[in-house]
C-alpha cells in the first residue's frame, strides 16, 4: 500500500527519466549526421523553451527577452572560452549565473508596469542587449562574432567534438532540467506561482510576496536559458548577434506555444515540430518562415493550449463517444426488452 503510493507519487519523475533514456538512445539506431545535428539543436531549444514554458505556463509571465538571455549565456561561454581559456565545465556555472541574473533583471520592470507595457519593455531590453552585442566589438567581436572550439574536451566521459556524444550530453541536460522543473511545478512553490497567475491580488492578500516570487521565477527561466545558450555555442562553435534577434524570441514563443505551455514536455514537442517538419516537407527557408508564421496564428486561434492538448482533447472526445455509444446500446437494449415485455 505504502510502496504503491510512493510509486504513484514518483511516476511522473520516472516518466521523465524514461523519455530521457529513449531519446538518449537515438544514436544507436544509426541516424545520419544531419538528423543527429538537427536532433541536437532540437534538444538545445527544448531546454531553452522549457525555461520559457515554465515562466509562461506556470507563472503566467510572457517575456520577449528570452532569446537575449539565451544569447548572454552563449556569449558568456564563448567569451570565457576565448579570452580566459575556460573549459565547458568551468564556463557552465558562469553561463547559468549570467542567465539567472539577466533573467532577474528583465523581471525588474514588472514591479512598475503591467500587461502589454511589461511585454514591450522586455522586448526593448532584448533590443538593447542586441545592440551591445553588436557594438562592443572588443568583447563580442561585433557583427563578426566569435569562433570557439571545444578541442579534445570531454564532459562526463562524452567527447564534445563527437556529434553523437555531444547529442547525448545535451539530452542529459534536458532530462535534468525537466526533472528540476517537474519538482518545482509539483512543489508548494509551484502552487503559489499558479495562484499568482490566476489572481495576483488574491495571492498577495494571502501573504505571497508577488514581486519576490516573480523575480525568482524569471531568474530560474533565465538560468535555464543561459545553460541552453552555452549548449548552443558548443554545438555551432560560432556566435554572432544575428543569432539572438527578435526572430529568435518569436521562435522560442512559437516552440513553447506549439507543444503547449502548460506541459513539461510541451516546448520539447514544439521544438521537435519546429526543426523536423521543414526537413520532412523539404521547404525552402522563406516558405518555412511564412508557414511557421501562419502556424503560430492558427495555433493560438484554434488550439491555444498546444499540440499536446489536442491529444488530450481527442482522447476525451473518443472516450465521450464511447460512453455515448455504450449508453445508446444500453438504452436500445432496454427499449427492446421493454417492447418484448409489452408484447408478451
Amino acid at each position: 500500500m505504502n510502496g504503491n503510493s510512493a510509486v504513484q507519487r514518483f511516476l511522473p519523475h520516472l516518466g521523465v527519466l524514461l523519455v530521457g533514456v529513449i531519446i538518449f538512445l537515438l544514436p544507436n539506431i544509426g541516424p545520419t549526421g544531419k538528423v543527429l545535428s538537427l536532433a541536437t539543436t532540437t534538444v538545445i531549444f527544448a531546454v531553452g523553451g522549457a525555461g520559457l514554458g515554465f515562466l509562461w505556463g506556470q507563472a503566467g509571465q510572457l517575456t520577449l527577452a528570452h532569446a537575449a538571455v539565451f544569447g548572454l549565456g552563449a556569449y558568456t561561454a564563448a567569451i570565457c572560452g576565448k579570452m580566459l581559456g575556460t573549459t565547458f565545465v568551468e564556463a557552465l556555472p558562469l553561463s547559468i549565473l549570467v542567465g539567472a541574473i539577466s533573467g532577474g533583471l528583465v523581471a525588474l520592470p514588472s514591479l512598475r508596469t503591467k500587461g502589454h507595457y511589461f511585454v514591450i519593455l522586455t522586448f526593448a531590453i532584448g533590443e538593447v542587449l542586441a545592440v551591445i552585442e553588436q557594438r562592443w566589438d572588443s568583447l563580442t567581436g561585433g557583427a563578426n562574432g566569435i569562433l570557439i572550439t571545444a578541442g579534445r574536451q570531454t564532459v562526463l566521459g562524452f567527447t564534445l567534438m563527437r556529434r553523437a556524444e555531444y547529442y547525448q550530453l545535451t539530452v542529459i541536460f534536458l532530462t535534468v532540467v525537466s526533472l528540476l522543473l517537474l519538482i518545482l511545478t509539483r512543489s508548494r512553490w509551484g502552487t503559489i506561482l499558479r495562484g499568482m497567475r490566476e489572481n495576483a491580488d488574491l495571492a498577495a492578500s494571502l501573504g505571497v510576496n508577488i514581486a519576490k516570487q516573480r523575480l525568482i521565477a524569471f531568474a530560474i527561466a533565465g538560468a535555464i536559458a543561459g545553460l541552453a545558450g552555452q549548449l548552443y555555442v558548443y554545438q555551432v562553435q560560432f556566435i554572432a548577434p544575428s543569432s539572438f534577434t527578435t526572430q529568435t524570441s518569436i521562435m522560442f514563443l512559437l516552440v513553447t506555444l506549439l507543444g503547449g505551455k502548460a506541459y513539461l514536455f510541451g516546448p520539447a514537442v514544439g521544438a521537435l515540430a519546429y526543426f523536423f517538419l521543414p526537413e520532412l516537407f523539404g521547404l525552402p527557408p522563406i516558405t518555412n518562415q511564412i508557414a511557421f508564421g501562419a502556424l503560430l496564428v492558427l495555433m493560438i486561434l484554434l488550439a491555444p493550449e498546444g499540440l499536446l492538448s489536442v491529444i488530450g482533447r481527442t482522447r476525451r472526445f473518443f472516450s465521450r463517444m464511447r460512453t455515448r455509444s455504450r449508453m445508446t446500446h444500453e438504452l436500445e437494449a432496454r427499449e427492446a426488452a421493454a417492447e418484448k415485455g409489452g408484447q408478451s
Partner: protein
C-alpha cells in the same frame, strides 16, 4: 550643427509620430498591441515602389500604398484579429506570427535586396546654418496633414465621437447603439492606411529592404508608449521628441548606438511613468 540636427530630428520624428498614431488608434479601440505594424509600413513602401516604377507617378504611388494598406487592415481585422478581441494578449501573439508571414512574403515577392527610388522633390534650400532638403518639407507637410485629419475626425465628427466612446467603454457604447465591431474595424483600416503613408515617406529616403519594418516598429512603439497608449497628441509630441533626441545623439555621440539610446530611454521613461508621459491606457493583463 545644432539647428541642423534638430531639423533632421523633426523630419525623422514626423514618420515615427505617424506610425505611432496608427498603433495608438488600433490599441485604443481593440486593446491589441499590433506588432506587425512595422511590416505593414514595409509593405506600403514596396507597393509605392511598384506603382511608381510602373506609372512613374508619385501621387499614384502614395494613393496606392494607402489604399492597399487599408485593404490589408480590413483583411487582417476580419481574418484574424476579430477572433482575438476578447483576449488582447492573444492578438499580440497573433501579430508576432503575422510578422513572420508578411516579411516572408515580401522576401518571396521582392527578394531580400534593397530597392532604390528617387524622391519626387530634389535639391535643398540653404539657410546658412540649416540646409533643408525639399523632400523633407513635403514629408513633414503630409504628416501634419494626416495628423490634423485624424485629430479632426476624432474630435469633431460624429464618427470620431463613436470611436472615443468605444475606446472609453465598449460595452456602454454598444448599449447606446454604436456598432462597436464596425468602429473597431475602422480603426484597423485607418491605422493600417497611416502605415501605408509612412511607408511611402520612408521610400522617399532612398532605399528599402524587406527588413526595414523592425526598425520602425520599435520606434513606433517607443513613441506610442512614451506618449501613452491611446493618446494621439501624446504620440505626436513623443514622436518629435524621439526624432530630435535620436538625431542629436547621432550627431554628437556615437551614431552606431542609436538603438540603445532609444530603447534605454524608453525603458527609463516607462519605469518612471508606467503609463507614458502624457498618461494613457494601462495595458491589457496577461
Amino acid at each position: 550643427m545644432f539647428a541642423q540636427q534638430v531639423y533632421n530630428g523633426v523630419a525623422l520624428g514626423a514618420v515615427y509620430a505617424l506610425i505611432a498614431v496608427g498603433i495608438t488608434l488600433v490599441y485604443g479601440l481593440s486593446r491589441i498591441i499590433h506588432f506587425a505594424v512595422g511590416e505593414l509600413v514595409m509593405f506600403g513602401s514596396f507597393i509605392a515602389w511598384e506603382v511608381q516604377n510602373a506609372t512613374g507617378s508619385w501621387t499614384l504611388g502614395i494613393i496606392a500604398a494607402t489604399l492597399a494598406l487599408a485593404v490589408a487592415g480590413f483583411l487582417t481585422e476580419r481574418g484574424v484579429f476579430r477572433f482575438t478581441l476578447s483576449a488582447p494578449m492573444t492578438g499580440f501573439i497573433v501579430s508576432l506570427g503575422l510578422i513572420l508571414v508578411f516579411q516572408g512574403l515580401a522576401i518571396e515577392i521582392w527578394s531580400a535586396n534593397p530597392h532604390y527610388a528617387q524622391p519626387p522633390l530634389r535639391g535643398a534650400w540653404d539657410f546658412g546654418s540649416v540646409v533643408v532638403i525639399k523632400q523633407t518639407v513635403l514629408n513633414i507637410g503630409i504628416v501634419v496633414a494626416m495628423l490634423a485629419i485624424s485629430y479632426y475626425i476624432l474630435m469633431r465628427t460624429r464618427f470620431g465621437k463613436a470611436l472615443r466612446a468605444v475606446s472609453d467603454d465598449s460595452q456602454a457604447a454598444a448599449l447606446m447603439g454604436i456598432p462597436v465591431r464596425l468602429v473597431i474595424m475602422a480603426a484597423f483600416i485607418a491605422g493600417s492606411a497611416l502605415a501605408g503613408v509612412a511607408g511611402w515617406i520612408i521610400l522617399t529616403n532612398g532605399s528599402i529592404t524587406p527588413f526595414v519594418g523592425a526598425n520602425y516598429l520599435l520606434r513606433g512603439f517607443a513613441v506610442a508608449l512614451i506618449g501613452g497608449l491611446g493618446n494621439i497628441q501624446g504620440a505626436a509630441l513623443a514622436g518629435l521628441g524621439l526624432g530630435v533626441l535620436e538625431s542629436l545623439a547621432a550627431g554628437y555621440i556615437a551614431p552606431g548606438w542609436n538603438d540603445a539610446y532609444v530603447f534605454a530611454g524608453m525603458i527609463a521613461i516607462l519605469l518612471w511613468r508606467p503609463t507614458g508621459l502624457a498618461g494613457g491606457g494601462e495595458g491589457a493583463h496577461l
